[in-house]
């Protein structure tokens, strides 16, 4: 092998070994996004951030003796209990559509839908992890857990795409009862799998949010002239002689789909929103955080 090739081999090994060390770019971006949001939400009381300890309180009749914190009690006459906050941390499970349709973007100026969906999911996960929640994926690739390491796992699993699938259907087989769920997709494919998945989740007592991530072109349909439309996996085709003539009807169908989503949300108590990839991610994240975040909780 020549010197150049040897050098190359070394480079590749170096790269290969360095892979595990680096922070996934998705996680880095999500961190960045989450930090930006935290500054806006500083009103929340955050004593003992994310840890079990919350406060000591005087023991009252009826408290179990073994819950008394003797170290604290020894410093005074009364008995104190160590109270723990966040012990009943919520599980939040995500599904970000990885199908081919999510790889679409109509312009270089903004990222594709899939990237935006993954970014939103992980940024919310970062915020929730700071808040001590347990986070995971709805498809069982990363069962809900707390901690920074879980974010790494999620980042890895989230960046997997589905090969050979045009439109995604929720992979929500591993939702825990009573957990909360966030589904991010363009929801352009068949609606029945979505409805089934959300209804099944609602049956388990799962509440959550549906975020429809769309490209501006998908919303505005700016095409004109003779065109052959093809789905991202080239499985579906539609030919038209004048694309502009389809605009109104396309938008009507899109609105119909949104109505279906909204109806589903009303029926199950899930929150529904739309997000466009040319809009800043912060707005969607803020909305998500308010819907899913700890403030909402079960009245806590």
């Amino acid at each position: 092998m020549s010197e150049g090739a040897a050098q190359f081999g070394f480079d590749l090994r170096h790269r290969a070994e360095g892979l595990a060390a680096g922070l996934p770019p998705l996680l880095a971006a999500a961190d960045h996004l989450a930090v930006a949001l935290q500054q806006g939400l500083h009103g929340r009381r955050r004593v003992g951030q994310g840890t079990e300890f919350w406060q000591y309180r005087a023991a009252q009749p009826g408290d179990e003796v073994r819950r008394i914190d003797w170290r604290r009690s020894a410093r005074s006459d009364a008995q104190f209990l160590r109270e723990q906050e966040w012990q009943a941390a919520q599980s939040v499970q995500f599904w970000a559509d990885g199908a081919a349709s999510m790889a679409y973007r109509s312009s270089e100026r903004w990222e594709d839908k899939g990237s935006r969906a993954r970014l939103l999911a992980l940024a919310l996960a970062v915020l929730l992890e700071h808040g001590g929640e347990r986070i995971g994926l709805a498809d069982g690739m990363a069962p809900p857990r707390a901690g920074r390491a879980q974010l790494m796992r999620m980042a890895e699993a989230l960046s997997l795409r589905d090969a050979g699938v045009d439109y995604g259907a929720p992979r929500a087989s591993a939702l825990l009862p009573g957990a909360r769920a966030v589904f991010l997709s363009d929801f352009l494919g068949g609606f029945d799998p979505v409805r089934d998945a959300v209804l099944a989740a609602a049956d388990k007592g799962v509440k959550g949010a549906l975020v429809q991530v769309l490209d501006p072109a998908e919303e505005e349909f700016p095409f004109t002239g003779r065109a052959l439309f093809e789905s991202m996996g080239a499985l579906l085709r539609h030919e038209t002689k004048e694309a502009a003539g389809l605009r109104a009807r396309y938008r009507a169908r899109l609105a119909e789909r949104r109505d279906e989503l909204a109806d589903l949300g009303r029926a199950t108590g899930w929150a529904v929103t739309q997000h466009r990839t040319d809009h800043p991610a912060q707005t969607a994240l803020l909305w998500l955080y308010q819907v899913i975040g700890p403030n909402r909780g079960q009245g806590r």
Binding site: R13, F229, E230
Partner: protein
């Protein structure tokens, strides 16, 4: 017609008829809407079922229509060849005879010459003149018949220049064959003067007008080389003075590997008045012996090629002397006469046999050497076996060594009787014997024996039935004088007389040298005289065509040496390489004393140059305008269909198009070569480009992932994956090719299939992936069907699902299944031979041969292997942790596959390890 049209003509006016269907095209263009723009758009699912409301939506706008029709019109007019100021050719009425010299001197610009022929024919046919045509190098004997000329166009198109030139005799005969009555003549001359030309022109002028078309560019030719002071001297000839020009003389020959290469090159500058220049090459003997031909660079003519033959070669001759002769008695030494005869023409080396054989001589001469040491004799016999020529001379020592009971010397062509025979001495009755004429079939046949050559003593051959077959020269009384025997691919020749003047006067005569010559021991520089060629028959080995290309001679009849010696090139003796026995002779177009003179035409003959000066062809300009309009049409179409973002991009596109027309392809090609070089630097995994950008990206990411895994886990450290364009890229630098199948994949070209088959035969492997999970098995899915179509042109052996004992299951990891993104589908590889037997004590059969050339499956491996440049998996495999396990197995399959490609049956051979260990005594 008046005005501009009077000065405008067309070279092929009938093409203008193509303007007629233009209105039809106008209509068609109007009806045909522009091609649809292909848009990737996920929202298509919401469009399904929506019908167009306005059917007549898109039509080509009229101005675009006008643009296109104008472009077409310009193209038609352009191809019709508009010419400004066409030369007015006064057309006669009567029959027209078209003559062409069509010899080697025409070959250099034959295309123009043929165009001229056809133009003459076209003009004559347009004018309705009966026409006939003759090539003066062709068959002139048949009578000239004027016809309408319909079949002549084909004849002219197929006409090729001959490698010889019009023979004077035949031209004179042609005068006789000319038809009666008046006719005009167009003569395309090569501009070289020939004696018989004047006669023919005179005869033609008697029938009507003669127009001569002659190129102002003079023909160049090369005379055969002469050896002067050890240097090769070549003369470059030009048919008459002309403008100053530089030509290059190339010396071509075979390199040690047998590949023809340029050995030397010199340029010669002709000044305006020069018609002859010399060039000298000083080549070392090793190079000189390799020379096959001399050539004028860039002149495609038989006259510009000179073939080299034995005359140039200097053979290396090893001379071994019988033993010490007293100093000062040179004339008695057997080697003296040989030395004198051979020194001028060969490289003579002398010494002992043990020293000489390693120098790889062409010929070994043993002059009166009786006995050789056994190991010398063995080595000499080997050397002869491999094609050496051993020449032995008898003498007193050899005669003395012959005893009745000794074993036969294998290095003699015939067994010899003991003792020698003296004829015509003081003690014998007979007179010294003369030679009998050399028999037919002997290499000496045709040599004239001088009367004063006699033999007074010789050694005698043991009479036997085979003896007569070995005799190539005999004495007048019939006793063998020279005998010869083949030995392996070489031969042994024995002169039954001594090499000095003791036994015979042969070494004193010129015949001695001629005989050595005939045995291809020495060779004369320059041409052999006709006498020296008398009696030989030469077979054409390779012949030259008019352009100077050599080709196998095929079944040409043998040529008598006398005819060849005349150096007259003609249909029966085409120029080329001739062979007789072991000798080669080149017959070149130019004789050694040939000179070229410019043709002189008598008064009354109109001479035109081939290149017309006054005409101004407009073809290029008009076609360029048409092209510009077409480009404008492309841009306009793109703008109309909305594929161009804005005018800025259109500008960029136009610039790109312009640049593309200038030089980008070359740059791209160089870039390609660089990529290939980079790929060949290390071991690169390669994939076939399908044309589907998404799929190609997956393939690339997949192979990158596999490369990373290989680098991490094995000593295989592949370079970056390489995208292979089957039609363009060289495959020999790869060992492994991943080929995903799509239903709409284009079929590779024939050349690509040839490359693929070579790739498969030389140990490469293709992994075909239909990516359909092989759901129905076989060719039911579109991908499967496409795979069958694509693989039809490939050299693929019988296939079987990979059996559990295939080496792929254990070439690195132990595997049971070969999953990709899908799992469980059978994967196919080359079938094991039916004779495979179960290895003793092993759970598998003895399958020790070869790498399977193809592996076929539908598990979408690339998607499972795919990694982004951060090393993270890109696609989901299966569900949850089980899926990750499947991905791991997919990687393991990839590792096994590459290991199998790279190590072949190594793991299979491990079966034999116990046996090997046992044999080692452990």
């Amino acid at each position: 017609m008046s005005g501009i049209f009077a000065t405008l003509g067309f070279t092929t006016p009938w093409l203008l008829w193509a303007l007629l269907p233009l209105p039809l095209i106008w209509l068609l263009l109007r009806v045909m809407p522009p091609a649809p723009v292909l848009r990737r758009f996920p929202g298509v699912v919401l469009l399904l079922g929506l019908a167009d409301q306005d059917a007549s939506a898109a039509r080509t706008p009229p101005w675009l229509l006008a643009l296109r029709v104008l472009a077409l019109m310009l193209a038609v007019v352009g191809f019709a060849g508009p010419v400004l100021n066409p030369q007015a050719v006064p057309e006669g009425r009567g029959p027209l005879l078209i003559l062409a010299d069509a010899g080697w001197a025409d070959a250099a610009d034959w295309d123009r010459r043929r165009g001229q022929l056809q133009a003459a024919l076209d003009r004559a046919r347009l004018a309705g003149r009966p026409v006939a045509w003759r090539a003066l190098t062709g068959d002139l004997a048949s009578p000239v018949v004027f016809t309408a000329g319909d079949d002549l166009a084909g004849q002219l198109a197929a006409a090729q220049p001959a490698a010889w030139e019009p023979a004077d005799g035949e031209m004179a005969e042609f005068v006789m064959a000319l038809p009666e009555g008046a006719f005009d003549t167009v003569w395309l001359s090569d501009g070289v003067e020939r004696p018989a030309r004047a006669v023919l022109v005179k005869a033609l002028l008697g029938h009507g007008a003669v127009v001569v078309q002659e190129s102002p560019a003079r023909a160049f030719a090369l005379r055969p080389p002469e050896v002067v002071d050890g240097k090769l001297r070549l003369t470059v000839l030009r048919a008459g003075p002309g403008s100053a020009r530089r030509v290059e003389v190339l010396v071509l020959g075979l390199d040690p590997a047998g590949i023809e290469r340029e050995l030397a090159r010199q340029s010669v500058t002709f000044a305006a008045g020069d018609s002859e220049r010399e060039v000298r090459f000083d080549l070392p003997p090793e190079l000189r012996n390799r020379v096959t031909r001399f050539q004028l660079s860039g002149v495609a003519s038989a006259g510009a090629v000179v073939l080299a033959d034995d005359g140039l070669k200097r053979r290396k001759v090893a001379l071994v002397d019988g033993g010490s002769v007293r100093e000062g008695l040179d004339l008695l030494s057997p080697a003296h006469y040989l030395r004198q005869a051979l020194k001028p023409t060969t490289d003579l080396i002398e010494g002992t046999l043990a020293d000489l054989l390693p120098a790889a001589p062409d010929v070994v001469i043993l002059a009166d050497v009786a006995r050789l040491q056994q190991d010398d004799a063995d080595r000499l016999a080997d050397w002869v076996d491999q094609g050496g020529l051993l020449l032995r001379f008898a003498g007193p020592r050899l005669a003395a060594s012959l005893a009745p009971d000794m074993p036969v010397d294998p290095l003699l062509p015939v067994p010899l009787r003991p003792g020698d025979r003296a004829i015509g001495g003081a003690m014998s009755w007979g007179a010294p014997q003369g030679f009998s004429p050399f028999p037919e079939g002997s290499p000496f046949a045709g040599l004239v024996v001088p009367g004063d050559v006699t033999v007074s003593a010789q050694v005698l051959a043991q009479p036997s039935p085979e003896l007569s077959g070995h005799v190539i020269a005999a004495l007048a009384d019939g006793t063998p004088l020279v005998t010869r025997a083949k030995m392996g691919s070489g031969q042994v020749v024995l002169f039954h007389v001594s090499a000095n003047a003791e036994w015979t006067s042969l070494p004193l005569s010129g015949l001695f040298v001629q005989m050595l010559d005939r045995l291809a021991i020495s060779s004369r520089p320059g041409k052999a005289e006709a006498a020296a060629l008398a009696g030989t028959v030469w077979q054409a080995d390779r012949v030259m065509d008019g352009f100077g290309h050599l080709a196998q001679a095929g079944g040409l009849a043998g040529v008598a040496g006398e005819d060849l010696g005349k150096e007259l090139v003609g249909p029966l003796t085409p120029p080329g390489l001739y062979r007789s026995d072991d000798r080669h002779m080149a017959l070149n177009v130019m004789a050694a004393d040939r000179a070229l003179a410019p043709a002189v035409w008598p008064v009354g003959v109109r001479v035109e140059g081939l290149a017309e000066v006054a005409e101004r062809p407009l073809k290029g300009g008009v076609l360029a305008a048409a092209l510009a309009l077409l480009i404008a049409d492309i841009v306009a179409t793109l703008v109309l269909s909305g594929r161009l973002g804005g005018l800025r991009r259109a500008g960029a596109l136009i610039v790109a198009l312009a640049v593309a027309g200038l030089g980008v392809p070359q740059g791209a090609r160089a870039q390609e070569a660089e990529r290939l070089v980079a790929a060949s630097d290390g071991m690169a995994l390669a994939y076939v480009e399908t044309g589907n950008a998404q799929l190609d990206e997956i393939s690339k990411a997949g192979l990158f992932g596999l490369s990373v895994v290989l680098t991490q886990r094995t000593t295989v450290e592949p370079a970056d994956p390489f995208a292979v364009d089957l039609d363009r890229d060289e495959l020999s630098v790869f060992a492994f090719l991943y080929w995903p199948i799509t239903p709409d994949q284009p079929t590779p070209s024939l050349e690509a299939y040839r490359k693929l088959n070579r790739f498969l035969q030389s140990g490469g492997m293709i992994l075909f992936d239909t990516r359909d999970a092989d759901l129905a098995g076989g060719a039911v899915t579109p991908e499967g069907q496409r795979l069958q179509e694509l693989a039809a042109g490939l050299d693929i052996p019988a296939l079987d699902p990979i059996p559990q004992d295939h080496v792929l299951t254990r070439s690195f990891y132990l595997l049971e299944d070969f999953p990709g993104r899908f799992a469980g589908a059978p994967v196919w590889a080359e079938a094991a031979p039916a004779t495979a037997e179960k290895a003793e004590g092993m759970p598998f059969r003895n399958l020790n041969d070869g790498v399977t050339p193809v592996v076929i499956g539908g598990n979408d491996w690339a998607a499972a292997w795919a990694m982004d440049d951060q090393g993270r998996a890109m696609f989901r495999v299966g569900r949850g942790q089980v899926g990750e396990r499947q991905r791991e197995m997919a990687y393991r399959f990839g590792v096994n596959l590459i290991m199998h490609v790279l190590t072949g049956n190594y793991k299979s051979d491990q079966v034999h390890v116990p046996a090997l260990l046992e044999r080692l005594g452990q």
